[in-house]
Symmetry: C2
Subunit: 329 residues, 2 copies
């Protein structure tokens, strides 16, 4: 029996995930979206896979019978909370790309406790994940940290050329904008930059048995100091090329965890994870991970486990058994 | 309550794991070994941690009360099977560095089925892991493969300078020997080289939902073509510098999984994992992972999960929820 997957949110990530699901031999039971341009259209035709006989619906009951629902509508738990509650009340298991759901107890502890209670009451499992937060800057970090006797410090960087991402991504990281205007929109929450620095830091901390005394996160625009061109995208001098941000966890004055995201036009595509401890450092570096396909792939790579897991609100720490330890003294 | 850890086998890996356990704040309840030079000695003094009041015993009952036992005595399941049965019959959870236990159904299916049955009957959990097999060439590979939509091919290499390893490691990879004599000892099983190529291949295959039509493994001596010196170890021309080996899984004629180990004097210290699929490749490369500390750390990083897991004979596929998918058509 193939896994039966539903999709709540059929924008670019939802559609990409649906393509990955089909490639992997899973069955698509339904797709839900509020976009009038999508409702009523054939799911298979929308993803270039030919007619599937399943139409996008505006009604979540279209997902009845799914073993697991891929939820991909927004970054902030308070906004998507009613959607998740609806799915939970239908008894459906959910794997979501909502960034703040990756460690919901950090930013939304009240909603997290309510979601967990509702999920248990209705026999539903809920997990937030994706490439970042969810993988490169957290799960892969504490996985690799497991090779070190006692962790002194972990650092991870994900650097990506915003020119090679989708237009909505470039918009949220401010590409081409006036720096003062972008800073204002970041402050007001009208644009978000990257969401999830603290969530990644908390996932690593919890996996390492660490209760940080302080968690910080910040991001700022990267301003082009000359004309930058990459993959057909041009940024003029003085305009925003993207963002650079970080999250960190401290024990007293000691920074134990630091993760950084560099997302601007012309940035090198790479990731690096460095774990120090026990007198040596382990260093892994990649040639870059394409964000959208990786998010879709990671979500589908966890779909079976979410469908089988016990009810409740889970995190990636529940999905990966590695428990390295950080030095606390 | 700190985790209470016992040690079955208190050779170099067992002692290193005990040091890591203490550093992490775990409690050592006992250690068992048959070496008359170890029996009766204080565990803490043997690992340079000061008197602990726990003595090495030749009697496994010294491990009574452990939440989990670190088992580190040998590479071959048929040899260590009676030791594992003894621990299981005591109802103890076990995490073992026995290489062939990493995927015991491959080389010892009869013993694997018996161990699983006994473990369930006695409420014990058993897991085989370590740096390799167990991590670099398998678990980390299928973890990273989860970022790719549909895997066409995975390749992983672990390369290490045998000059920087323990003398027993150099002995098993034949350093300094006559090539013909080493080949003979490999054939006769008097020396093993690396053990676990096929186990790593099977872990990756199972995690990717793949039943290989064929699994192969082979290794051969690397013969010095000139005088090689590294970290104070010299290999004369014409003598064995170490081994190079591989394991691979096929679907028909297509090689889907290939893992390699290069372990010889003068080899570069690095690891590389490349996953191809969905029209792109993801590539991660390390600056090398020190084998013995990593094995001790990985075993301890899984000790808590093994103590909490349901009874039975588990593999690393049970410890990490990622399920990428390989193209099977």
């Amino acid at each position: 029996m193939p896994l039966r997957v539903g999709f709540y949110g059929f924008g670019s990530i939802g559609r990409l995930a649906a393509r990955v699901a089909l490639e992997r031999g899973f069955e698509i039971v339904g797709a839900v979206d509020i976009d009038p341009g999508l409702v009523g259209r054939d799911v298979g035709e929308l993803i270039g896979a030919g007619r599937l006989g399943v139409r996008v619906s505006s009604d979540p009951s279209a997902l009845t019978g799914a073993d697991v629902v891929v939820h991909a509508t927004g970054s902030f738990l308070d906004k998507v909370y009613p959607q998740l509650v609806k799915l939970i009340e239908m008894g459906l298991d959910v794997v979501s790309t909502c960034e703040t759901l990756a460690y919901p107890w950090y930013r939304y502890p009240v909603l997290a406790r309510k979601l967990d209670e509702k999920a248990r009451a209705h026999g539903a499992t809920v997990l937030g994940t994706g490439v970042n937060p969810g993988f490169i800057l957290d799960t892969l970090v504490f996985t690799i940290a497991s090779t070190v006797p006692l962790v002194e410090r972990v650092r991870a960087v994900r650097s990506l050329d915003a020119a090679r991402r989708r237009e909505p991504f470039r918009r949220k990281v401010g590409v081409g904008m006036d720096p003062a205007e972008y800073r204002l929109k970041l402050e007001r929450g009208e644009l978000t930059g990257h969401v999830g620095y603290a969530e990644s830091v908390m996932l690593i901390s919890e996996a390492m048995g660490l209760q940080p005394t302080r968690v910080v996160e910040a991001q700022e625009p990267v301003v082009a100091d000359r004309r930058v061109e990459s993959a057909g995208i041009v940024v003029e001098p003085g305009r925003v090329a993207g963002v650079r941000g970080y999250g960190a966890a401290y024990l007293g004055d000691r920074e134990v965890v630091r993760i950084e995201l560099h997302a601007y036009v012309g940035a090198e595509d790479y990731e690096e994870i460095v774990v120090e401890g026990g007198g040596y450092a382990v260093r892994w570096r990649s040639s870059g991970t394409p964000g959208d396909p990786a998010t879709a792939s990671i979500v589908l790579s966890l779909a079976e486990a979410v469908a089988e897991a016990p009810p409740g609100l889970l995190t990636m720490v529940d999905m990966v058994a590695f428990r390295p330890r950080a030095r606390v003294a």
